[in-house]
Symmetry: C4
Subunit: 276 residues, 4 copies
């Protein structure tokens, strides 16, 4: 994956996933707020909509993971399913294999959420658990991926681990706090962060402009670390903007929610139950 | 334990334990689903069945741990309960002693679950706590077991620590989230992973085919890391296949559960309560 | 920020923040206790007061963060928004930029809590989540801030990380245990600790008296470590004194609470529900 | 504290504390079980007994901590409150000062639990929080205590950290799961472990028999690690024996509890609620 395209591609995937999640969960939260005083029937309705969205998400994830695996295997310089090069007695293009493995786990997560939301065979939280495992494995493979690289190269990938393991932790927490909207939005932001950081890595290590970074300069490392925080700010802002627009557009159709304090009191209950 | 047999034996134990757990918990989950609308009497019935299964499990664990301890002590090259070799002034076969210690803790866990499920002297969650301690001690001893070995040797054992400590953590979580079926199945998968990884270690370090691995080659380490993830996929698949067959066979006798959405709505409640 | 003033300034900020929090939460706890048997209307009243306090807090945080960012940029030797020095091809005053970044996140936290408590757009726990992120980023930047400094210098900053990450963890826990008064007071104490420790760092590294510390002496490190604990004791004492005075002054107006055991029994319920 | 007595003394303290806790919590659990079907009045009664026990415990802790601090300061070679030796310009007997600091925090924990259980000024969980802080500080000081010692010396103290930080974590968990008997007994076992391990350290490093351990021998480290596990087994056994005797003696006076299954069913509810 030592190329600009090789980092831009997954970056874009994660960016899209993050935006999708931010949108999806804001939407649910908005409907839930409006329905909070409604009848249970309406709630069931929104639940069936949720189910459909989840099914779509699951199938898309599954599809792109399979595509990703095939791409890693059959691109120009791919291993074409050969694992060991017997002629020269060494493993064949392990990086492609590792990336296929990462895709494999995300594919599993997709398939699992598909099963969970189409049949009633398994508890709902299973999709979060598989997602947590997928993110953990991604971080786990990156962890043993950095042996013997230049300092800056190692550092930018280590920074990546923060958000990858962060996402794994958040998804695992969601197994127990399912429907906690803050965790869901946090996951979305971290995913956007991961996506944009992949792009950043591409620009730093394989800058298309051809500009070389000094891999040994400690100032570069300090700047990159700070830059990482800026990416986080950027992702948090995107998520909140997306969130506010959706909430705002939804509340237009339910003027009941703009009455200030008294209504606020009523809603506190809902907000409360939703954040615990 | 520096032999192929020495790794294959515990490996098989853990494989069997994992499969047993996967089956047991799937069975309970299936009965619980079918009973979910039934009377409390039926639920109590299934609870007494649970109790019997637990008792059997506890006694088997206890038995094999004792066998394991005796084996470690009295095999051909065992220390035969001698701890210190006064003639040459050094500790005698510490590895066997360490393995006996590991077995000892699993034996304690078995005995404890036996007590918890036969008498009503202690809270139920105690069996999980002892299991967590047993797994923690296993990892703890492995941690200080690796001093001054070859790189690859250390690496394969470090990978083992991930699932051992993972199991300890999951079991500890179960103290507070008892009956959370996802944690139970996760523990089962990690146990299968541990079992199959023991076999893998045997094949890598003491290959019966006599093929030598280059202990210094970084590519080998990268491959082994990836291989570990494949073992995880494999164990996850086994557990889900087992789970699905059991759920499927059970639901044959309760056609009530194949009505699609409406029934699904009804079940959501159950699934929910069961995953939190 | 390599100066005495540079450490004294943030230190004072954190000291004030810690004292404010200690006071605020003690006040709420006191009111909640007195109202515990009162009508819901009174409780709503105190809740609206809470809201006002939160709004004030948010705006003050926001204001000082912006001031801090501007100060870091436009002080005598500030980068004046120049990030890269093209003449000499190196990053320009990265320390000031890093500190601006830290202020930026605290500013975000302030803005977020302002939004959460003025509108009903988002769940309340969001303010804690942003606070946790802000503290985490502060620690995160300090973590990669210490490259190639003297042993003692690194050590005093590492000690700082304990309370910074501690505050991040506590704030994150508050997302799930909102209103747990112990976590709130713990956060207050850790903030006071951080503040006073900043002062300590100033005195150790840039002592105004001009006294030089031997940066290599291990005894100095051992003393500093112990000194850190004394700062913690000091901050715990301040918080408890503040807490007791407030509780005491409040209970003067509600003699009902000084009846000893029977009343105690009644209150146990409240205390209970408040600490879980 | 570089002496046999210096390790035996705190060891005995922790042993006694652990035994006391094991007894206390078993007693409460036994009463709670017998009262489980009784009236609320009886429960209040047992609660006031609890209060008295807690008060005694708090005062004893406080007393011995103060004694400990004075002892550390005024023993033959104590610093006598001198912190800095101006004649030779170095810190004066930092070890004694560090130990005084540790005692100080345990004293604070004792005082706090005294306040919590005599007045109704603060939430009950505060005593656990202070206990967690006290254990954390003990571990924290040991952590920076080991610089430049022999390998074995460092190792035995590192092993100590496992149970010290374990106790800190368990106590912190108790803030949120107060009354979870398993956590309480686990804390008791870890305290006994700590106590007996202090004795072990004394025997290893300052053996009264004068036998010298080879500080460089890796086999010694492996043995010590295993020995640590045996201490854990030993402490677990002590706690369970103590627990069983108390439960058994209590149940003698309540024959209602020996009816096997049906009664078991009734109790399950209680056990359940008590372990979550």
């Amino acid at each position: 994956m030592g190329s600009f395209k090789g980092h831009a591609l997954p970056g874009s995937f994660f960016l899209i996933a993050g935006l999708w999640w931010a949108g999806k969960y804001s939407l649910w939260y908005a409907t839930l707020r409006n329905k909070s005083l409604g009848s249970t029937s309406t709630r069931l309705a929104s639940r069936s909509t949720q189910r459909r969205l989840e099914v779509i998400e699951g199938s898309v994830t599954l599809f792109f993971s399979v595509v990703g695996m095939l791409a890693e295997q059959f691109v120009a310089d791919g291993p074409r399913l050969h694992l060991y090069d017997y002629s020269e007695h060494h493993w064949d293009r392990l990086h492609n294999w590792q990336h296929s493995t990462m895709y494999l786990f995300f594919g599993l997560a997709g398939a699992m959420s598909l099963i969970v939301h189409t049949t009633d065979a398994a508890p709902l939280a299973l999709d979060r658990l598989m997602l947590a495992i997928a993110f953990f494995i991604e971080g786990f493979l990156f962890l043993y991926h950095l042996h013997g690289r230049a300092m800056l190269d190692v550092h930018v990938h280590q920074l990546l681990l923060f958000c990858v393991f962060g996402e794994a932790m958040v998804s695992f927490l969601e197994v127990f706090h399912r429907g906690n909207m803050l965790l869901e939005l946090l996951r979305a932001s971290l995913t956007i962060l991961q996506g944009s950081w992949f792009w950043q890595i591409g620009f730093v290590l394989y800058s298309p402009s051809g500009a070389e970074w000094d891999q040994k300069d400690h100032n570069n490392m300090m700047f990159i670390t700070m830059c990482y925080c800026w990416h986080l700010v950027f992702s948090l802002l995107i998520v909140s903007v997306l969130y506010c627009t959706i909430i705002w557009t939804m509340t237009q159709h339910t003027p009941r929610l703009c009455k200030g304090y008294l209504t606020k009191k009523e809603n506190d209950g809902v907000l409360h139950q939703m954040t615990w």
